[in-house]
Structures are given as structure tokens and as C-alpha cells.
Amino acid sequence: MDTLYSIMETVLPFPWIQYDFMKNALLAIVIITPLFGILGTMIVNNKMAFFSDALGHSALTGVSIGAILGIVDTNLTLLVFGILFALLLNKIKRRKTVSTDTVISVFSSLSMAIGLVILSRGGNFSKYSGLLVGDILSISIQEIGTLVIIFIITLIFWFFGFNKLHAAGVNESLARSKKINCNFMEDCFSVIIAVIVMFSIKWVGILIINALLILPAAASRNFASNMREYHLFSIIISLFSGITGLIISYFVGTATGPTIVIIAAFLFFITLFFRSILNHKG
């Protein structure tokens, strides 16, 4: 680990890199933002933005369950709850008795309310308010290790499952006629989103995690013309806003997550602006 640190210090000769928490935060951002960029492409394509938002909100219940059970490390309860919540949402969605938006909204508000009720009993919610905004500077080196593992698993899934997932998203009946198991692919993808959202919620924050998932992909769509460009631009935009956001927040003294979101949103509007100019010309 020390060698990695010293490499970072030589490659990046800036005063802020001296602090270990900045090194950790930078490492975390370099792993987490491309991951968000990749997942975002499919979330936007398959119109799952509301779904990932609901998952983020449900984190409150995950934490509160941990608090009730007296578990110190709430990561585990968060993760288990997140996965169950995602699978439950998929199951209810498939019964098609109520519209998807409504179902997700109901479950999102319910799980948030349950979390708030439990965590605020005795009037000490302030202890948990950090969850809302998150703090990337608090990430430890072990947690970065776990992030790397999640990153690798996601990449493997993406290489083997992306085509099927994409096919199912474009037209389910057509995918079925090609013997693609749509529900299984959708469940796998939901579980991966759940794991990543739940695991990174402490550093990114419930209120803004969805913005980080959606914005890079949404900006990339403004000028990409195929899947390869879509992914490439999304990763670059995500990484760029992550790193500049971290540095700016260090100098200005603001929370890192929201700073990153503002930069990503700024990039979205710039790309949107250029697209509309190009469209008018063409």
C-alpha cells in the first residue's frame, strides 16, 4: 500500500495529495466513477432511473434494520436489504397490476419512511444525517479493496451479459424468441445495481447517488452514435467530473459528492447545447 501511496505522490506533485484521506478518496473515485458511468448507460437505456433512485432511498431502512439488530457494521444489513428490495420490486413490477412508476414510488417512500421512523426514535437522527450527503473522504483502504472486487465482478457481468440485457431492454418478446432469459438478466442487473448503490451510499449519499448514476450516461447520449461511443464518453465524463469535483471541493471546502454532481450536470447542459446547435444545422 505504501508503494502505491508513494507512486501517487511522485506522479501527482500537488500539495493536497500528501494527505492519506485525499489519496484514498482519489483512488475510490477512480474506481467508482467509471463503474457508475458504465451502469448508467443501461439504467438510462432501460428507463430504470426511478428504480435506482428508489434503491438509494431504501438504504435508510437497511441502515435502520442494522441499528435495531445492534449490528455495528451496517454494510451487511444494507447489502442484504438492498438485494431483497430490488428483487421484490422486479417481482411486483412483472405482475403488471399497477403501473411501474406507481409501484416503485410507493415502495420508495415506504422504505424511506420506515428508515426515518426507526432512526429518529429518541430524537437522534442527526447521528445518521451524514448518510444523506455522504463523505468520500472517510473511505478506508479496506473498503477500496472491496470496491475493486465489485468493479471486477461488474466488468465480468458486463462482458458476458450486456448483449442479452440490451436485447431484453430493446424488445422483450423479440429477446424471448431468441431464447434469452429476460427476467434472469434483469434480476442480475438489479442485484448489481443494489450492491453498488448500497455499498457506496456512505460516501456518495442518498440524496445524490442517482445523479451520479444518470448524469454521465445522459450527457454521453447527447453526442454518442453507437454503444461503444456511449460507454466511452460516459466513463470519461464520469471520471472527469469525479476527479475535478474532488479537487475543487478540497480547495473550496465543500462536500465532495454534490460538487461532483454539479460538474456532471454542467457537462450535461454543455453537451445538450451543442447537440441542439448541430441538430439545427443538420
Binding site: N45, W158, N163, H166, S173, S177, N226, M227, H231, R275
Partner: protein
Amino acid sequence: MKENRIKKRKIITSHIQPDTACGLHCIQIKDISVRDGAQTIIENINLHIHCGKITVIIGKNGAGKSTLIKAILGEIKHEGSIEINDLRNQTLMNLKIGYVPQYINMEKNTPMSVYDLFAGYISNSPIFFRKNPKVYHTIKEQLRVFEAQDLVDKRACDLSGGELQRVLLSIAITPVPNLLLLDEPVSGIDKNGMELFYENIGKLKSNFDLAMIIVSHDFEFVKKYADHVILMNKRIIKEGNPTEVLNSDEFKEIFGERVYPK
């Protein structure tokens, strides 16, 4: 090297080389019923289809045409069975179904090229990573069947309704299925596009070894191309050749006299 390349091309073209219909496969759809709770959506549908034949399903909105297609695709729960027999040696085969959807999920600026759309269904080579030259070649060859090979690098959302239809047709026959299902294929296509589409259906019928079930509202098309017509209203109320069905009392009762005067 050159020889090698020629060899490779031969292999690829030979596997898409159309077989003409042999007429020796028959698909039996037996007693298909779909229920939603206590409500019956379709009931006791029996169809007997031979390869090389076009069966057209007609009926009013809500008659259960799309439901039948979905049941055959195995997308919704249904009673009854679907079998394919080889009449040469009386064995059951594995039924391969092709499907041409009415629409696809796509917005104005969806970054998906025709290659991406196509390869997603027929290949496992990750489309976000690189354009696989082998897959690219196969797709171009398959698109050539419907003269759509030049569309391969275009964005799918920039295509006209007719162009998209031809791409979807190519996807449906890669690999060649035993049974091709088309759900109201002419919606959103202009007059020229429609004629081209019918020509393509005719081409499929004469060049490929497959049976087709088409849901249609276009009675001109029915008269010209259908081998067998099914008039549906939850169950089959009339079937036969186009003249029989289009002039039947049952047809007039549902669509009225003025739609298709004698």
C-alpha cells in the same frame, strides 16, 4: 491467405443460404387458451400450419390476436401445446420461432446503431466493447436479404419505419426459424414501404423453409398473399382461403359490408 478468405466467406454464405420450402414440416397449435383470472382472453385455438404457407390472423381490436402471438412465443401462461413434426419420419423437432415486433424501445437520440441492435440478439460478442468483424460481416449479409446492408452503421433511431421493419425482419430470420410471427407489421409505414414489405414477405415465402403467421388489418394484403385466413374473436369464428373468409357472413358481421365489398 486470399483462398482462406474466400473459404471463410463461403462458409458464412452457405449457412444463410435459403432453403426453399419443403412442405414437410407441420406445426400444430393445439387448444391454446389464455385466461386472466376468471376472464377468458382466447379460447380453444387450433391451428395446423405447413412450412411455406402464410397464415393471416384478422379480427377487431381486443379480439386476442396479439395475445395468441404472445402465447405462441411462450411469453404468457397458456393452456394447450405447440408442436412441430417432421412428416418424413414422424419425429418431433425443436421449434425455432422468429418474431417481428410492432415497435422497439427507442428514443430520439438513443445511441444504438443497427449493428448494436442486431448483434445484441444474435451474438455474445460485447457490443459496448468492439465491433466484431465476423459478426459485422454476418449482419451485413443478413441485411442484404432485404436490401438493407447499407443501414448497418446508421443509428437505429434515424431509420424510417420501413427501414426499421426490414432490419427487424433480418433479425427475425437470423438464424432461419421454422415459424415466423409478425405482429401488425404495417403500422407506421407509408404506401411505398408497405408494398416493399409485401414483396419481402413474398420473397421469404418462396425462398425460405419457414411458415408464417401474420396479424394484419390490411385486407388487400390478405387477398393477395394469404394461403389461409383466420378470423378471430376470442376463438376462431371462421377460417379458410381468403375468398371464403372475406366473403363470409361472419366477416361481414364483424367488419361490416362496406369494408370489403364483393
